[in-house]
């Protein structure tokens, strides 16, 4: 099963390497990892999507806890949360195809952020299934390049993860 972990870490050089290294050397698969600073400049937040059964996730969590710079870990998989990914897609588009692509972009409430001679860059945010769907819809035109951020997530309601 796929789990979403929200991990608070100290905002210091080398923390990402420690976390990523722990995953690889213990044989855990990271599906995605997104990291950025938080409202507190001393703390960064990582959203890690990892595949595994309960035993694996328990070990992942415990091993993460052993890293001195990891402050807090929450498995939010079963909580109500907003999860988003950002994707940029460069798609083939000559003048004849543009209007059709723009319709697709509208349907997914995505945006066109760059227009080139023969291509467009489309920006979309959403959960994983939406991102996959827009990618599939654009495939027939010829996708030249895709870049995705990996999931970030925040639990709904007034409570925060550091409280």
């Amino acid at each position: 099963m796929r789990h979403t972990l929200s991990v608070m870490v100290e905002n210091r050089a080398g923390v990402l390497a420690r976390v990523a290294g722990m995953f690889s050397r213990r044989g855990y698969n990271i599906e995605s990892l997104a990291v950025g600073t938080t409202e507190n400049p001393k703390i960064s937040r990582m959203t890690i999507v990892v595949e595994g059964d309960n035993h694996v996730i328990e070990q992942v969590t415990k091993q993460l806890h052993k890293l001195i710079e990891v402050i807090k870990i929450s498995d939010i998989t079963d909580e109500e949360y907003v999860g988003r990914e950002l994707v940029l897609i460069k798609v083939n588009a000559d003048t004849a195809q543009r209007s059709e692509i723009m319709q697709i972009v509208d349907i997914f409430r995505a945006r066109i952020v760059d227009i080139g001679y023969k291509s467009l860059i489309i920006e979309a945010t959403g959960d994983q299934s939406k991102i996959t769907a827009i990618e599939t819809s654009l495939k027939p035109f010829g996708i030249r390049e895709v870049v995705r951020t990996g999931k970030i997530a925040m639990v709904r309601g007034p409570k925060t993860k550091l409280e």
Binding site: E10, G14, Q59, I68
Partner: protein, 562 residues
């Protein structure tokens, strides 16, 4: 007061009451060595950096306080790596200080530059690359705190040269503030209650005691528990000494070279109480066949060890000593005459697991005599190999912190530098390093270190001109195709001793054992005793790959178990 970063570092070490550090100088660490001149801290110059970590580890394990070692950047730092990994695997508190090239050179592949913090991420409890001189006092304090608390382990501080040279105005902080490091000390009360209830209900309990008992000074609490619930105790290699070997409830070491008594008892028990141990594969054999009928209570300070290799029924996270005290306060006394009669029978059988050696000089024969002559009171360090297993089986360790061996990593070359560290930790102790011709050659350069400081370590070299344990593996797994195990270029170890100006002895037959050992043990000097043994001696019992502990191979037929 204004001082250099290096001076601040040395002051930090003094504040942590460091009295000895083991090290090897070099360019990038020069400022620290310069600052050490005016310190009360004694520096022990080793002959290769790996020995510095092993010695610091030996010191830490005997003394019960954090050991310190120091080396320069690049090769100095990389030579430490095996020793750091060893300390990490065996949860030994060590603070490692390495020099680094100046910050403006970092990342340029400068002379003697290596990314030692990157290299040691997986083998340190934590590490630091000091970026700013003002951080030094805080980092030193944190490093000792992290190394010595919770599950102990090595912490590395990588100190760039310019950071060591710059001015430091900062004082040592009063408090440590680590949001991400708060080890659980007290066991959960309801889990402890459950554990006590299960102990009461058990008919045939066994205690499985590991290095955590020794490391947390909980030996007396362990014995109290064993006696009150009348449970026999099997220890891991790291746990030897947690209960005196002559205690009637002691089963011996368990595992793939464990005693028949320990392995059978664990396989038959209905409750296994694992304390400060981590179910290493050398202990469990095939995990699926380990303690098949037992409920398991697992007490450990490291939550990540619980449920890692073996599913447990009652996990208790906490400081082993505190948890044992809490259990001892409420557990009901047990009386298990039937189970203890069974244990007694198992122990009697165990005495016959090796056939009589007769007139053949054997490793176990010499170790049995060493054990008798020292009454189990020596501090024994071992290297890795057959001699290590014989030492674990036949040296009757009486005290905790008195059996120092490389457990998790199995590092050949550990024993002698660890003995150097142990002797410095306790100058009055009788320190005996039990080693083999293979292992000793990995660190015998440290004879010079021991000689320089007049350390009366006794080195017992079991010389079979071969890598005995590898040969034994080839015996069982490669249909006796022996390859790359003969050590044909061995030196004469007696003459080697003489080359260093210290006594060298040789034991060639059974009659010489007592006389030579007595002389060597009582001469007050660094000594080498070379014991000429046969290649064919095998360690029994042995549990082959994929087998359970109760399927161990026991010596059959002739002396060599052919």
């Amino acid at each position: 007061m204004v001082m250099t970063g290096a001076q601040a570092l040395v002051r930090g070490l003094e504040a942590e009451e460091v009295d000895i550090i083991f090290g090897y100088p070099g360019g990038a660490i020069l400022p620290v060595y310069d600052a050490l001149i005016n310190s009360s801290i004694k520096h022990i110059l080793v002959r290769q950096e790996q020995a510095a970590v092993h010695a610091a580890g030996g010191y830490a394990r005997l003394r019960g306080k954090t050991g310190v070692c120091i080396a320069t950047s690049g090769p100095g730092a990389t030579n430490l790596v095996t020793g750091i990994a060893n300390a990490y695997m065996d949860s030994v508190p060590v603070v490692v200080i390495t020099g680094q090239v100046s910050t403006e050179m970092v990342g340029t592949d400068a002379f003697q530059e290596v990314d030692i913090t990157g290299i040691t991420h997986p083998i340190t409890k934590h590490n630091y690359l000091v970026q700013d001189t003002k951080d030094i006092p805080r980092i030193i304090k944190e490093a000792f705190h992290i190394a010595g608390t919770g599950r102990p382990g090595p912490v590395l501080i990588d100190l760039p040269k310019n950071v060591a040279e710059n001015e430091c105005w900062e004082e040592i902080p009063q408090r440590i503030n680590l949001d991400g490091y708060k080890p659980t000390i007290k066991g959960h009360p309801s889990q402890i209650k459950t554990a006590c209830r299960i102990m009461k209900e058990a008919r045939c309990p066994v205690i499985h005691a590991g290095g955590g008992i020794v490391g947390s000074d909980a030996a007396s609490d362990l014995i109290k528990l064993a006696e009150s619930i009348q449970a026999p105790v099997a220890t891991t290699l790291m746990g030897l000494g947690a209960i005196p070997a002559d205690h009637e409830l002691f089963l011996g070491m368990l595992g793939i070279h464990g005693t028949t008594a320990a392995n059978r008892a664990v396989s038959e028990c209905d409750l296994l109480i694992t304390i400060g141990a981590r179910f290493d594969d050398r202990v469990t054999g095939a995990v699926g066949k380990f303690a098949p009928d037992a409920k398991i209570i697992h007490i450990d300070i490291d939550p990540a060890e619980i449920g890692k290799n073996i599913r447990v029924n009652v996990p208790i996270v906490g400081h082993v000593k505190m948890v044992l005290q809490a259990i001892n306060n409420q557990v009901e006394k047990g009386k298990r005459s039937q189970w203890l009669a069974r244990i007694k029978r198992l122990k009697e059988e165990a005495a016959y697991s090796y056939p009589e050696a007769g007139k053949t000089l054997t490793t176990r024969g010499v170790i049995e005599r060493l054990s008798a002559l020292t009454k189990g009171n020596a501090v024994v360090t071992t290297d890795v190999g057959q001699h290590q297993m014989f030492a674990a089986q036949f040296y009757r360790v009486k005290h905790p912190r008195a059996f120092l061996s490389s457990g998790g990593l199995g590092t050949m070359g550990y024993g002698f530098p660890a003995a150097v560290g142990a002797q410095l930790a306790d100058p009055k102790a009788l320190v005996v390093c039990i080693t083999g011709d293979g292992s000793f050659q990995m660190s015998m350069a440290e004879l010079a270190t021991a000689k320089e400081h007049n350390l009366p370590v006794k080195v017992l070299v079991f010389n079979n001109n071969c890598l005995g344990l590898v040969r034994q593996l080839q015996h069982f797994y490669c249909e006796r195709r022996y390859t790359a195990v003969n050590m044909t270029g061995n030196p004469d170890f007696v003459k080697l001793a003489q080359a260093y100006g210290v006594p060298g002895y040789r034991i060639s037959n059974v009659e010489e054992i007592d006389q030579v050992l007595e002389e060597a043990l009582n001469n007050g000097k660094l000594s080498i005793v070379e014991c000429m043994i046969e290649k064919e001696e095998l360690v029994y019992p042995t549990v082959l790959n994929g087998k359970g502990l109760d399927e161990m191979v026991i010596s059959t037929g002739g002396y060599y178990g052919e």
